[in-house]
């Protein structure tokens, strides 16, 4: 932790120095004059990328422009709740809000956000020389409206990858034992059958050797939305069930009967595969949300697993938090036959491209100052340190920075994978009713995990419930 702090201080110093470099200082100082003494307030989840904004970029921006930044870092639920209440009631408490990728559609449908492209075009004085929307990675596309205008400045982006224990996979004794048992070489799984086999093998290996090791992590919390997300974002797509199995083009059908896929045979196979993994997962898996899966992997208790990318870097490099530093391999998630081809053709995807942006609510009373701040954090010069602190990348140019490259090497090429294969991953489907539908069906899903319902029954009930909820919400006619 002190390491991170020192790094942040160093970055702060660097940021401050950047602030006094003459050429750049001119713009920020000049643009800031108009808003001198203004305080802008933002809200975000207290994650490393956000905390970097709070502790480093905010103060640096204040130094450069004279605009104060109050940054509220809070819990995930609170962040949503307060931002929505503020925008709904048109209160104007927040001048910039965190928009998670899956929330943007809801916000756009309610017209909560300022069109940044238009706003900056209308206020040319506020256009920073360094601000270049073309430099964003494709992830920025998720925050664009119908005519391609940007409504949020991406601040973090990750892919959910397949992590495996490189040290174990390359251990000759392990390899020999695996070969003897399954008559093939041990390598990261390409499909689900291989994945299950490897999970079985390592669970048995842990038992035989008397060590606390299991075959796979599973994000299967029985009372938290994280489990539902792992299934719909990362497991179902690899079986060819996309967009939660709902067909928006077909009156938002979810049941097979009406043309949906939520309870299709593929979906049932996917859920069964995932539930079966629990046998090969450490016992805490049914209590695991997104962060606990990472903790399980970092504790060395699982040989492989699907882990959110924001955790990949610290698991692989930070020995104050992780026991598996230098032992982590990164690969693409295993898929059913045909799915990879569909993803490459652009008709499917194999996992979740996650992240978020900062946007300005219409209710903000300091839009100009907020826009300056968003441009400030989108400058190429501040990206590299931010990437190292939070393993997030939103600008194409950041990939080439030496600091990022150094970290890339330590994480077995996580950034390279994200850059080259990022196109195979997708964000959440373009539904404005994410939380609403999830809350309606997730309770049934949890019953499948705790064994009260079979995979097949659970999905049948979920599909029916989903259609009923969508009818109630008025999307399904």
């Amino acid at each position: 932790m002190s390491g991170l702090k020192r790094m942040m201080l160093g970055a702060l110093a660097a940021g401050l120095m950047a602030g006094v470099t003459p050429a750049k200082a001119d713009f920020w100082a000049d643009a800031g004059k108009e808003f001198s003494g203004v305080t802008i307030r933002g809200i975000s989840e207290s994650t490393p990328p956000s905390n970097y904004v709070k502790n480093v970029l905010g103060p640096a921006f204040t130094k450069a422009t004279g605009i104060n930044v109050e940054f509220e870092a809070t819990s995930w639920d609170q962040m949503y709740d307060k931002a929505i209440k503020d925008m709904e009631a048109n209160t104007g408490i927040y001048d910039f809000v965190y928009i998670e990728q899956d929330a943007v559609y809801g916000y756009l449908s309610r017209d909560f956000l300022v069109d940044l492209t238009k706003f900056i075009a209308e206020n040319p004085k506020l256009k920073a020389p360094d601000y270049d929307p073309a430099n964003f990675t494709t992830f920025a596309n998720y925050f664009k409206g119908k005519d391609g205008d940007l409504f949020g400045v991406p601040m973090e982006a990750f892919i959910k990858v397949y992590l495996y224990r490189k040290d174990l996979f390359e251990d000759p004794a392990v390899k020999a034992a695996f070969k003897a048992k399954y008559n093939r070489d041990l390598a990261p799984a390409k499909n689900h059958a291989e994945y299950t086999e490897i999970a079985d093998f390592f669970t048995q290996w842990g038992k035989d050797k008397g060590i606390e090791l299991w075959g796979s992590t599973v994000q299967a919390n029985t009372g938290h939305p994280a489990s539902w997300y792992e299934y719909v974002e990362s497991v179902a797509p690899t079986f060819g069930v996309y967009n939660w199995g709902i067909d928006p083009a077909n009156n938002f059908a979810a049941t097979v009967e009406h043309g949906g896929k939520m309870n299709s045979p593929e979906a049932k196979a996917a859920l069964q595969f995932w539930l079966d993994l629990l046998k090969n997962a450490p016992p805490e898996s049914t209590a695991s949300t997104w962060d606990e899966v990472a903790a399980t992997f970092a504790a060395g208790r699982a040989a492989q697993g699907l882990v959110y990318g924001e955790n990949a870097a610290w698991i692989a490099t930070d020995d104050s938090k992780s026991k598996v530093v230098g032992k982590v391999g990164v690969a693409l998630p295993p898929v059913e036959p045909g799915v990879m081809e569909a993803a490459e053709a652009g008709t499917g995807y194999i996992g979740y491209y996650d992240g978020g942006a900062f946007g300005i609510p219409h209710s903000s009373k300091n839009k100009g100052a907020a826009a300056l701040f968003l441009e400030y954090i989108a400058q190429p010069s501040v990206q590299a340190d931010w990437a190292v602190a939070g393993s997030r990348i939103t600008l194409q140019s950041t990939y080439d920075d030496p600091k990022v490259k150094a970290q890339d090497a330590k994480t077995d090429g996580y950034y390279t994978l994200m850059r080259d294969q990022g196109k195979l991953f997708a964000g959440a489907p373009a539904y404005p009713f994410h939380n609403q539908l999830r809350e309606a069906v997730a309770p049934i899903f949890w019953q499948a995990i705790s064994g009260e319902l079979s995979a097949s029954d659970a999905l049948d009930q979920m599909a029916t419930t989903a259609e009923a909820e969508l009818t109630k919400l008025g999307y399904r006619k």
């Binding site: 809200i43 819990s75 962060d291 208790r301």
Partner: protein, 278 residues
């Protein structure tokens, strides 16, 4: 009442304290370990002390502010509520007010509502109605101090009503005959006799205000945030920082115990007073 065997009592309390302290001890164990150490097999022993969990919180100005806010809010609220409830209970106990039993029962219904649905109207009140010029009640300490009365006043009134009712009326009547005013009766007759009740009420109101989470999280943002909401900030997608969370929770015990020690002696004082009177 019963024979007093101090040795036996002592033994009982030693055992009972172990049960009470175990979760707190475990919290301390977690707070003393680094994130990596937490991953080893659970052990009750503390081999080394990972002080960074504590130092990070102590040196973080944000958490210093949260802590100060919590102290100010909880203490002001506890004092305000205790005084108001004393006045209210005196009125309910000694005056013939029409419908007072209904009012008494109504007060407690304010504590019954599940809080979640009430957050929206409160948010609107705090951001759009209670606004004077540039000042909003949102994100202010006074906002929470007043709001916490909604669940603390019913509690205090219900606890103190019995205490005041139990004080014989003859005592205030005697004082009135001697020419005392209502205030003098309250301060010189009721207050001393109700001290244990008042002390316990103040302690528990303080506790409720100190620990409250949902309202504080919704109705504050940066300036008036409390330490309880600060605790929830450690739970994030990239790993809950259990160690620092536990350390912070341990630190919150310090002002709590200080307040407890300060007020608790009045429970004893009341006791001796009762004994003298008896």
């Amino acid at each position: 009442m019963t024979r007093n065997r101090p040795g036996l009592s002592l033994l009982f309390w030693l055992v009972a304290s172990l049960v009470t302290l175990f979760p707190i001890y475990w919290m301390f164990v977690v707070s003393a370990r680094s994130r990596v150490e937490l991953f080893s097999a659970p052990s009750f022993l503390i081999k080394s002390f990972f002080s960074e969990n504590y130092l990070n919180t102590i040196h973080d100005p944000t958490y210093q502010k949260y802590m100060l806010n919590s102290i100010v809010i909880a203490t002001s609220n506890a004092l305000l509520v205790t005084v108001l409830a004393l006045l209210a209970c005196y009125a309910l106990s000694r005056y013939k007010l029409s419908g007072k039993e209904n009012i008494f029962f109504w007060t407690i219904t304010n504590r019954m509502a599940p809080p979640a649905a009430f957050l929206l109207p409160l948010f609107l009140l705090y951001t759009q109605v209670f606004v004077v010029g540039d000042w909003k009640m949102f994100d202010t300490r006074i906002g929470l101090i007043l709001l916490y009365c909604v669940f603390n006043l019913p509690f205090a009134i219900w606890t103190l009503r019995g205490v005041i009712d139990a004080i014989p009326r003859e005592l205030d009547e005697a004082a009135f005959v001697d020419g005392a005013s209502t205030w003098q009766v309250l301060i010189h007759v009721i207050l001393p006799l109700a001290r244990p009740g008042l002390a316990v009420t103040a302690i528990l109101c303080w506790v409720f205000a100190w620990n409250e989470y949902l309202f504080a999280a919704t109705l504050t943002s940066v300036n008036a945030r409390t330490i309880t909401t600060g605790l929830a900030e450690f739970v994030t997608v990239t790993g809950t920082n259990w160690g620092q969370m536990a350390a912070t929770a341990m630190l919150t015990l310090i002002p709590a115990v200080a307040f407890l020690a300060l007020v608790q002696k009045h429970i004893v004082a009341g006791l001796t007073f009762g004994a003298v009177k008896g």
